[in-house]
Protein backbone atom coordinates (compact mmCIF):
# COMPACT_ATOMS: atom_id res chain seq x y z
CA UNK A 1 0.00 0.00 0.00
CA UNK A 2 1.26 3.42 -0.88
CA UNK A 3 0.66 6.92 0.33
CA UNK A 4 -0.33 9.41 -2.34
CA UNK A 5 -0.06 13.13 -1.95
CA UNK A 6 -1.57 14.91 -4.89
CA UNK A 7 -3.04 18.29 -5.65
CA UNK A 8 -6.37 17.95 -7.41
CA UNK A 9 -8.07 21.09 -8.70
CA UNK A 10 -6.01 23.21 -6.34
CA UNK A 11 -6.75 21.14 -3.23
CA UNK A 12 -4.11 18.96 -1.63
CA UNK A 13 -5.12 15.40 -0.87
CA UNK A 14 -3.10 12.98 1.21
CA UNK A 15 -4.38 9.45 0.98
CA UNK A 16 -3.01 6.42 2.78
CA UNK A 17 -3.49 2.84 1.71
CA UNK A 18 -3.57 3.37 -2.02
CA UNK A 19 -3.02 0.15 -3.91
CA UNK A 20 -0.27 0.75 -6.48
CA UNK A 21 -2.42 -0.84 -9.17
CA UNK A 22 -5.22 1.67 -8.61
CA UNK A 23 -5.60 3.63 -11.84
CA UNK A 24 -5.70 7.40 -11.62
CA UNK A 25 -9.20 7.46 -13.12
CA UNK A 26 -10.55 5.18 -10.37
CA UNK A 27 -8.70 7.21 -7.74
CA UNK A 28 -10.42 10.36 -9.00
CA UNK A 29 -13.87 8.85 -9.43
CA UNK A 30 -14.04 6.45 -6.49
CA UNK A 31 -11.72 7.85 -3.82
CA UNK A 32 -12.31 11.55 -4.47
CA UNK A 33 -15.82 11.32 -5.92
CA UNK A 34 -14.90 13.36 -8.99
CA UNK A 35 -17.09 11.56 -11.49
CA UNK A 36 -16.79 14.19 -14.22
CA UNK A 37 -13.88 12.16 -15.61
CA UNK A 38 -15.39 9.32 -17.61
CA UNK A 39 -14.25 5.86 -18.64
CA UNK A 40 -15.17 5.20 -22.25
CA UNK A 41 -13.00 2.36 -23.44
CA UNK A 42 -10.54 1.45 -20.69
CA UNK A 43 -8.07 0.60 -23.48
CA UNK A 44 -6.24 3.92 -23.89
CA UNK A 45 -8.10 4.76 -27.08
CA UNK A 46 -11.05 7.10 -26.53
CA UNK A 47 -9.74 9.95 -24.34
CA UNK A 48 -12.96 10.21 -22.27
CA UNK A 49 -10.75 9.89 -19.18
CA UNK A 50 -8.46 12.81 -20.12
CA UNK A 51 -7.26 15.02 -17.25
CA UNK A 52 -4.40 17.47 -16.98
CA UNK A 53 -1.24 16.37 -15.16
CA UNK A 54 0.85 19.44 -14.35
CA UNK A 55 -1.11 21.16 -17.12
CA UNK A 56 -0.62 18.49 -19.80
CA UNK A 57 -3.33 16.18 -21.06
CA UNK A 58 -3.03 12.52 -20.10
CA UNK A 59 -5.34 9.51 -20.20
CA UNK A 60 -6.11 8.78 -16.57
CA UNK A 61 -7.04 5.17 -17.42
CA UNK A 62 -3.44 4.65 -18.54
CA UNK A 63 -1.70 5.90 -15.44
CA UNK A 64 -1.51 4.67 -11.86
CA UNK A 65 -2.54 7.01 -9.04
CA UNK A 66 0.86 6.48 -7.40
CA UNK A 67 2.50 8.03 -10.46
CA UNK A 68 0.65 11.27 -9.69
CA UNK A 69 2.20 11.48 -6.23
CA UNK A 70 3.73 14.93 -5.78
CA UNK A 71 2.03 16.31 -8.88
CA UNK A 72 -1.00 18.44 -9.76
CA UNK A 73 -4.09 17.06 -11.49
CA UNK A 74 -6.89 19.14 -13.03
CA UNK A 75 -10.21 17.54 -13.84
CA UNK A 76 -13.32 19.03 -15.46
CA UNK A 77 -14.53 19.94 -11.96
CA UNK A 78 -11.51 22.23 -11.67
CA UNK A 79 -12.28 24.30 -14.75
CA UNK A 80 -15.37 26.29 -13.91
CA UNK A 81 -18.58 26.16 -11.94
CA UNK A 82 -22.16 26.05 -13.22
CA UNK A 83 -22.45 29.69 -12.18
CA UNK A 84 -19.32 30.67 -14.05
CA UNK A 85 -18.29 28.37 -16.84
CA UNK A 86 -14.74 28.21 -18.17
CA UNK A 87 -14.61 29.78 -21.69
CA UNK A 88 -14.07 26.32 -23.16
CA UNK A 89 -17.17 24.97 -21.40
CA UNK A 90 -19.12 28.05 -22.45
CA UNK A 91 -18.05 27.54 -26.07
CA UNK A 92 -19.03 23.83 -26.12
CA UNK A 93 -22.44 24.84 -24.79
CA UNK A 94 -22.96 27.77 -27.16
CA UNK A 95 -21.72 25.89 -30.26
CA UNK A 96 -23.58 22.64 -29.50
CA UNK A 97 -20.27 20.83 -29.24
CA UNK A 98 -21.95 17.87 -27.58
CA UNK A 99 -24.91 15.56 -27.85
CA UNK A 100 -24.87 12.79 -25.25
CA UNK A 101 -22.00 14.46 -23.43
CA UNK A 102 -20.09 11.31 -22.61
CA UNK A 103 -16.92 12.33 -24.43
CA UNK A 104 -17.27 15.99 -23.55
CA UNK A 105 -15.31 16.28 -20.35
CA UNK A 106 -12.29 14.56 -21.87
CA UNK A 107 -12.73 16.54 -25.07
CA UNK A 108 -12.70 19.80 -23.11
CA UNK A 109 -9.58 18.85 -21.16
CA UNK A 110 -7.77 18.01 -24.42
CA UNK A 111 -8.96 21.26 -25.97
CA UNK A 112 -7.60 23.19 -22.98
CA UNK A 113 -4.21 21.51 -23.44
CA UNK A 114 -4.35 22.30 -27.16
CA UNK A 115 -4.88 26.03 -26.54
CA UNK A 116 -2.04 25.99 -24.02
CA UNK A 117 0.27 24.83 -26.80
CA UNK A 118 -1.34 26.69 -29.71
CA UNK A 119 -3.46 29.69 -28.61
CA UNK A 120 -4.95 30.29 -32.06
CA UNK A 121 -5.16 26.92 -33.81
CA UNK A 122 -6.25 26.33 -37.39
CA UNK A 123 -8.98 23.78 -38.13
CA UNK A 124 -6.29 21.21 -38.97
CA UNK A 125 -4.46 21.90 -35.73
CA UNK A 126 -7.70 21.53 -33.76
CA UNK A 127 -8.46 18.18 -35.39
CA UNK A 128 -4.90 16.97 -34.79
CA UNK A 129 -4.99 18.27 -31.22
CA UNK A 130 -8.13 16.26 -30.50
CA UNK A 131 -6.88 13.09 -32.18
CA UNK A 132 -6.78 11.28 -28.85
CA UNK A 133 -10.49 11.87 -28.19
CA UNK A 134 -13.32 9.98 -29.85
CA UNK A 135 -16.92 11.16 -30.11
CA UNK A 136 -19.63 8.85 -31.39
CA UNK A 137 -22.35 11.49 -31.61
CA UNK A 138 -21.40 14.83 -33.03
CA UNK A 139 -19.34 14.15 -36.13
CA UNK A 140 -16.83 16.60 -34.65
CA UNK A 141 -17.95 19.66 -36.66
CA UNK A 142 -19.37 21.52 -33.69
CA UNK A 143 -16.54 20.43 -31.46
CA UNK A 144 -14.09 22.10 -33.83
CA UNK A 145 -16.33 25.18 -33.91
CA UNK A 146 -16.40 25.24 -30.11
CA UNK A 147 -12.62 25.17 -29.81
CA UNK A 148 -12.38 27.97 -32.37
CA UNK A 149 -14.93 30.02 -30.43
CA UNK A 150 -13.10 29.43 -27.16
CA UNK A 151 -9.80 30.54 -28.72
CA UNK A 152 -11.49 33.70 -30.01
CA UNK A 153 -13.15 34.36 -26.63
CA UNK A 154 -9.83 34.04 -24.85
CA UNK A 155 -8.15 36.38 -27.35
CA UNK A 156 -10.93 38.95 -26.87
CA UNK A 157 -10.79 39.00 -23.08
CA UNK A 158 -10.27 42.44 -21.57
CA UNK A 159 -7.46 41.30 -19.36
CA UNK A 160 -6.12 38.57 -21.55
CA UNK A 161 -5.37 35.39 -19.70
CA UNK A 162 -3.65 32.36 -21.02
CA UNK A 163 -5.57 29.15 -20.81
CA UNK A 164 -3.10 28.04 -18.15
CA UNK A 165 -3.96 30.97 -15.91
CA UNK A 166 -7.61 30.18 -16.33
CA UNK A 167 -7.03 26.62 -15.24
CA UNK A 168 -5.26 27.86 -12.13
CA UNK A 169 -8.17 30.09 -11.14
CA UNK A 170 -10.50 27.13 -11.60
CA UNK A 171 -11.63 24.84 -8.82
CA UNK A 172 -14.17 27.26 -7.40
Amino acid sequence: MARVEVEVNGTRHELEGVEPRLLLVHFLRERLGLTGTHIGCDTSSCGACTVLLDGKSVKSCTMFAVQADGRAVTTIEGLGSSAELHPMQEAFWAQHGLQCGFCTTGMIMSAVDLLRRIPNPSEGEIRAGLEGNLCRCTGYENIVAAVRAAAAALAAMETPKTIGELVEVGGR
Partner: protein, 296 residues
Protein backbone atom coordinates in the same frame (compact mmCIF):
# COMPACT_ATOMS: atom_id res chain seq x y z
CA UNK B 1 -10.42 -11.21 -9.12
CA UNK B 2 -8.05 -10.60 -6.24
CA UNK B 3 -9.20 -7.57 -4.32
CA UNK B 4 -8.63 -5.80 -1.07
CA UNK B 5 -12.14 -4.87 0.02
CA UNK B 6 -11.06 -1.87 2.05
CA UNK B 7 -9.36 -0.04 -0.75
CA UNK B 8 -10.57 -1.36 -4.02
CA UNK B 9 -14.22 -2.04 -4.42
CA UNK B 10 -15.05 -2.34 -8.06
CA UNK B 11 -17.78 -4.49 -9.42
CA UNK B 12 -17.45 -6.51 -12.60
CA UNK B 13 -14.32 -7.37 -14.53
CA UNK B 14 -12.86 -3.95 -15.21
CA UNK B 15 -9.40 -3.93 -16.65
CA UNK B 16 -7.43 -4.21 -13.44
CA UNK B 17 -3.77 -5.24 -13.44
CA UNK B 18 -2.47 -7.83 -11.00
CA UNK B 19 -0.87 -6.51 -7.81
CA UNK B 20 2.69 -5.23 -7.69
CA UNK B 21 5.04 -3.26 -5.51
CA UNK B 22 5.83 0.26 -6.67
CA UNK B 23 9.17 2.02 -6.27
CA UNK B 24 10.30 5.46 -7.36
CA UNK B 25 14.10 5.52 -7.05
CA UNK B 26 16.07 8.75 -7.24
CA UNK B 27 19.14 7.56 -9.08
CA UNK B 28 20.03 5.10 -11.80
CA UNK B 29 22.13 3.12 -9.32
CA UNK B 30 19.15 2.73 -7.01
CA UNK B 31 16.93 1.77 -9.96
CA UNK B 32 19.44 -0.87 -11.06
CA UNK B 33 19.61 -2.32 -7.56
CA UNK B 34 15.82 -2.55 -7.36
CA UNK B 35 15.71 -4.10 -10.82
CA UNK B 36 18.19 -6.79 -9.77
CA UNK B 37 16.60 -7.48 -6.38
CA UNK B 38 12.88 -7.00 -7.05
CA UNK B 39 10.73 -10.01 -7.85
CA UNK B 40 9.68 -10.02 -11.55
CA UNK B 41 10.75 -6.40 -11.77
CA UNK B 42 10.08 -4.10 -14.68
CA UNK B 43 10.91 -0.50 -15.47
CA UNK B 44 7.97 1.91 -15.75
CA UNK B 45 8.65 4.93 -17.97
CA UNK B 46 5.60 6.62 -19.56
CA UNK B 47 3.45 3.55 -19.06
CA UNK B 48 1.78 3.99 -22.45
CA UNK B 49 2.64 0.47 -23.57
CA UNK B 50 3.23 -1.29 -20.26
CA UNK B 51 0.03 -0.21 -18.47
CA UNK B 52 -2.31 -1.28 -21.30
CA UNK B 53 -0.49 -4.65 -21.30
CA UNK B 54 -0.84 -4.92 -17.53
CA UNK B 55 -4.54 -4.12 -17.74
CA UNK B 56 -4.94 -6.96 -20.23
CA UNK B 57 -2.73 -9.05 -17.95
CA UNK B 58 -0.39 -9.76 -20.83
CA UNK B 59 2.29 -8.35 -18.54
CA UNK B 60 2.21 -9.17 -14.82
CA UNK B 61 5.28 -7.62 -13.20
CA UNK B 62 5.47 -7.97 -9.41
CA UNK B 63 7.74 -4.96 -9.00
CA UNK B 64 7.47 -1.68 -10.91
CA UNK B 65 10.35 0.76 -10.87
CA UNK B 66 9.15 4.20 -11.94
CA UNK B 67 11.94 6.23 -13.54
CA UNK B 68 10.19 9.60 -13.09
CA UNK B 69 12.24 10.15 -9.91
CA UNK B 70 15.38 10.30 -12.08
CA UNK B 71 14.61 13.46 -14.10
CA UNK B 72 18.20 13.75 -15.39
CA UNK B 73 17.21 10.96 -17.77
CA UNK B 74 15.03 13.47 -19.66
CA UNK B 75 17.08 15.77 -21.87
CA UNK B 76 18.12 16.57 -25.42
CA UNK B 77 21.76 17.71 -25.57
CA UNK B 78 23.80 18.73 -28.61
CA UNK B 79 27.58 18.85 -28.65
CA UNK B 80 28.73 19.95 -32.07
CA UNK B 81 26.96 17.74 -34.54
CA UNK B 82 26.33 14.99 -32.01
CA UNK B 83 23.09 14.55 -30.11
CA UNK B 84 22.35 12.74 -26.87
CA UNK B 85 18.72 12.10 -25.93
CA UNK B 86 17.90 10.83 -22.45
CA UNK B 87 15.69 7.76 -22.44
CA UNK B 88 13.00 9.45 -20.34
CA UNK B 89 12.48 12.30 -22.83
CA UNK B 90 8.80 12.39 -23.77
CA UNK B 91 7.50 12.22 -27.31
CA UNK B 92 5.88 15.65 -26.72
CA UNK B 93 9.23 17.22 -25.75
CA UNK B 94 10.82 15.90 -28.95
CA UNK B 95 7.82 16.98 -31.03
CA UNK B 96 8.03 20.56 -29.71
CA UNK B 97 11.79 20.86 -30.34
CA UNK B 98 12.27 23.16 -33.36
CA UNK B 99 16.04 22.66 -33.28
CA UNK B 100 15.55 18.91 -33.57
CA UNK B 101 13.40 19.42 -36.64
CA UNK B 102 16.31 21.05 -38.46
CA UNK B 103 19.05 18.80 -37.17
CA UNK B 104 17.33 15.41 -37.12
CA UNK B 105 14.01 15.81 -38.91
CA UNK B 106 13.36 12.06 -39.00
CA UNK B 107 13.16 11.87 -35.21
CA UNK B 108 11.07 15.02 -35.04
CA UNK B 109 8.64 13.62 -37.63
CA UNK B 110 8.29 10.36 -35.72
CA UNK B 111 7.68 12.13 -32.40
CA UNK B 112 5.03 14.34 -33.98
CA UNK B 113 3.17 11.55 -35.69
CA UNK B 114 3.21 9.08 -32.83
CA UNK B 115 -0.14 8.21 -31.24
CA UNK B 116 -2.06 11.22 -29.98
CA UNK B 117 -1.31 14.21 -27.72
CA UNK B 118 -2.06 12.38 -24.46
CA UNK B 119 0.19 9.46 -25.40
CA UNK B 120 2.92 11.87 -26.47
CA UNK B 121 2.73 13.72 -23.15
CA UNK B 122 3.50 10.59 -21.12
CA UNK B 123 5.27 8.20 -23.46
CA UNK B 124 9.05 8.26 -23.74
CA UNK B 125 11.60 7.52 -26.43
CA UNK B 126 13.38 5.00 -24.21
CA UNK B 127 10.14 3.18 -23.46
CA UNK B 128 9.20 3.03 -27.12
CA UNK B 129 12.62 1.62 -28.07
CA UNK B 130 12.69 -0.87 -25.18
CA UNK B 131 9.16 -1.97 -26.08
CA UNK B 132 10.30 -2.72 -29.66
CA UNK B 133 6.87 -2.87 -31.23
CA UNK B 134 7.28 -4.21 -34.79
CA UNK B 135 5.05 -1.31 -35.90
CA UNK B 136 6.72 1.27 -33.65
CA UNK B 137 8.01 4.45 -35.25
CA UNK B 138 11.31 5.03 -33.46
CA UNK B 139 13.00 1.71 -34.27
CA UNK B 140 13.16 2.61 -37.97
CA UNK B 141 14.38 6.10 -37.16
CA UNK B 142 17.09 4.75 -34.86
CA UNK B 143 18.28 2.40 -37.57
CA UNK B 144 18.39 5.14 -40.21
CA UNK B 145 20.20 7.52 -37.81
CA UNK B 146 22.66 4.70 -37.04
CA UNK B 147 22.00 5.56 -33.38
CA UNK B 148 23.85 4.13 -30.42
CA UNK B 149 22.05 2.94 -27.27
CA UNK B 150 23.77 3.52 -23.92
CA UNK B 151 22.74 0.80 -21.50
CA UNK B 152 23.40 0.77 -17.75
CA UNK B 153 23.71 -2.52 -15.87
CA UNK B 154 26.47 -4.43 -14.10
CA UNK B 155 28.59 -2.34 -16.40
CA UNK B 156 27.68 0.34 -18.90
CA UNK B 157 27.71 -0.76 -22.51
CA UNK B 158 26.90 0.64 -25.92
CA UNK B 159 24.71 -1.16 -28.42
CA UNK B 160 24.35 -0.10 -32.06
CA UNK B 161 20.77 0.28 -33.30
CA UNK B 162 21.39 -2.52 -35.80
CA UNK B 163 22.10 -4.86 -32.86
CA UNK B 164 19.47 -3.48 -30.49
CA UNK B 165 16.20 -4.60 -32.11
CA UNK B 166 16.13 -8.39 -31.97
CA UNK B 167 12.55 -9.36 -32.71
CA UNK B 168 8.92 -8.62 -31.93
CA UNK B 169 8.96 -6.91 -28.50
CA UNK B 170 12.53 -8.15 -28.10
CA UNK B 171 15.71 -6.09 -27.70
CA UNK B 172 19.33 -6.56 -26.66
CA UNK B 173 18.44 -5.23 -23.17
CA UNK B 174 19.12 -7.76 -20.42
CA UNK B 175 16.72 -8.24 -17.49
CA UNK B 176 18.87 -6.15 -15.15
CA UNK B 177 19.60 -3.37 -17.61
CA UNK B 178 18.25 0.13 -18.13
CA UNK B 179 18.43 2.13 -21.34
CA UNK B 180 19.74 5.54 -20.26
CA UNK B 181 20.64 7.43 -23.44
CA UNK B 182 20.52 7.33 -27.19
CA UNK B 183 23.16 9.13 -29.26
CA UNK B 184 23.38 9.94 -32.97
CA UNK B 185 24.93 12.39 -35.38
CA UNK B 186 22.98 15.30 -36.82
CA UNK B 187 20.98 14.35 -39.90
CA UNK B 188 19.81 17.63 -41.45
CA UNK B 189 18.53 15.83 -44.56
CA UNK B 190 16.29 13.27 -42.96
CA UNK B 191 12.61 12.44 -42.67
CA UNK B 192 10.18 9.83 -41.38
CA UNK B 193 6.89 9.23 -43.18
CA UNK B 194 4.30 6.63 -42.29
CA UNK B 195 1.09 5.29 -43.67
CA UNK B 196 -0.79 4.95 -40.42
CA UNK B 197 -3.68 2.91 -39.21
CA UNK B 198 -6.53 5.39 -38.87
CA UNK B 199 -7.52 4.47 -35.32
CA UNK B 200 -4.29 3.55 -33.54
CA UNK B 201 -1.91 5.74 -35.54
CA UNK B 202 0.55 2.85 -35.61
CA UNK B 203 2.46 2.46 -38.87
CA UNK B 204 1.19 0.03 -41.46
CA UNK B 205 4.42 1.04 -43.15
CA UNK B 206 6.87 3.62 -41.84
CA UNK B 207 10.03 4.71 -43.61
CA UNK B 208 12.92 6.66 -42.09
CA UNK B 209 15.40 8.26 -44.47
CA UNK B 210 18.78 9.86 -43.79
CA UNK B 211 20.50 11.34 -46.83
CA UNK B 212 23.97 12.66 -47.49
CA UNK B 213 23.72 15.17 -50.32
CA UNK B 214 26.26 17.15 -52.22
CA UNK B 215 24.45 20.14 -53.66
CA UNK B 216 21.28 18.66 -55.11
CA UNK B 217 22.54 15.12 -55.63
CA UNK B 218 22.05 12.18 -53.26
CA UNK B 219 25.49 10.80 -52.41
CA UNK B 220 24.49 8.28 -49.83
CA UNK B 221 21.30 7.12 -48.12
CA UNK B 222 20.22 5.10 -45.14
CA UNK B 223 16.64 3.85 -45.44
CA UNK B 224 14.95 1.89 -42.65
CA UNK B 225 11.45 0.46 -42.71
CA UNK B 226 9.08 -0.45 -39.87
CA UNK B 227 5.70 -2.17 -39.85
CA UNK B 228 6.56 -4.90 -42.34
CA UNK B 229 8.76 -7.42 -40.55
CA UNK B 230 9.48 -8.54 -36.96
CA UNK B 231 12.20 -5.92 -36.73
CA UNK B 232 12.89 -2.78 -38.73
CA UNK B 233 15.28 -3.38 -41.61
CA UNK B 234 17.52 -1.38 -43.92
CA UNK B 235 16.38 -1.30 -47.56
CA UNK B 236 19.88 -1.70 -48.94
CA UNK B 237 18.77 -2.10 -52.55
CA UNK B 238 16.97 1.26 -52.44
CA UNK B 239 19.98 2.83 -50.70
CA UNK B 240 22.24 1.76 -53.58
CA UNK B 241 19.80 2.84 -56.29
CA UNK B 242 19.44 6.31 -54.78
CA UNK B 243 23.14 7.15 -55.11
CA UNK B 244 23.66 9.79 -57.76
CA UNK B 245 19.95 10.61 -58.06
CA UNK B 246 19.06 14.31 -58.15
CA UNK B 247 16.89 15.42 -55.23
CA UNK B 248 14.32 17.05 -57.51
CA UNK B 249 14.05 14.10 -59.90
CA UNK B 250 10.79 12.62 -58.64
CA UNK B 251 10.62 9.93 -61.30
CA UNK B 252 14.14 8.71 -60.51
CA UNK B 253 13.40 8.67 -56.77
CA UNK B 254 10.24 6.65 -57.39
CA UNK B 255 12.03 4.09 -59.49
CA UNK B 256 14.89 3.84 -56.98
CA UNK B 257 12.34 3.08 -54.26
CA UNK B 258 10.72 0.22 -56.17
CA UNK B 259 11.06 -3.08 -54.35
CA UNK B 260 11.73 -1.47 -50.96
CA UNK B 261 10.50 -4.62 -49.18
CA UNK B 262 12.47 -7.01 -51.38
CA UNK B 263 13.64 -10.13 -49.57
CA UNK B 264 11.45 -9.53 -46.50
CA UNK B 265 8.77 -11.80 -45.10
CA UNK B 266 6.11 -9.08 -45.04
CA UNK B 267 3.43 -9.41 -42.39
CA UNK B 268 -0.27 -9.50 -43.25
CA UNK B 269 -2.97 -9.07 -40.59
CA UNK B 270 -6.47 -7.67 -40.08
CA UNK B 271 -5.15 -4.15 -40.61
CA UNK B 272 -3.43 -4.68 -43.95
CA UNK B 273 -2.52 -7.60 -46.18
CA UNK B 274 1.05 -8.50 -46.91
CA UNK B 275 0.62 -7.45 -50.57
CA UNK B 276 -0.77 -4.05 -49.57
CA UNK B 277 2.03 -3.37 -47.11
CA UNK B 278 4.60 -4.42 -49.72
CA UNK B 279 3.11 -2.12 -52.37
CA UNK B 280 2.80 0.81 -49.97
CA UNK B 281 6.41 0.47 -48.82
CA UNK B 282 7.65 1.72 -52.20
CA UNK B 283 5.32 4.70 -52.19
CA UNK B 284 5.98 5.71 -48.58
CA UNK B 285 9.74 5.33 -49.15
CA UNK B 286 9.61 7.66 -52.16
CA UNK B 287 7.62 10.22 -50.18
CA UNK B 288 10.07 10.09 -47.30
CA UNK B 289 13.06 10.52 -49.63
CA UNK B 290 11.43 13.55 -51.23
CA UNK B 291 10.83 15.19 -47.86
CA UNK B 292 14.41 14.45 -46.79
CA UNK B 293 15.99 16.01 -49.90
CA UNK B 294 15.01 19.52 -48.74
CA UNK B 295 16.30 21.26 -45.63
CA UNK B 296 13.64 21.04 -42.94
Amino acid sequence: MESDGSTFEREGDGMIPTTFNYFRPHSIEEALLLLRQGEAAKILAGGQSLIPMMKLRVAEPKTLIDLQGVPELAHVTWAGGHCTVGSLTSHATLAADADLRQKAGALWDAANGLGDPQVRNLGTIGGACAHADPSGDYPAVMLALDACFIVAGEKTREVAAAEFFKGTFETALGAGEILTKITFDAAPRSAYVKLEHAASHYALVGVAVVLVMSRDTIEDARIAITGLADVPFRASGVERSLRGVKGNNVAAIKSACAGAAAGQDVRGDIQASSAYRTAMADIVAARAVRVATDPR
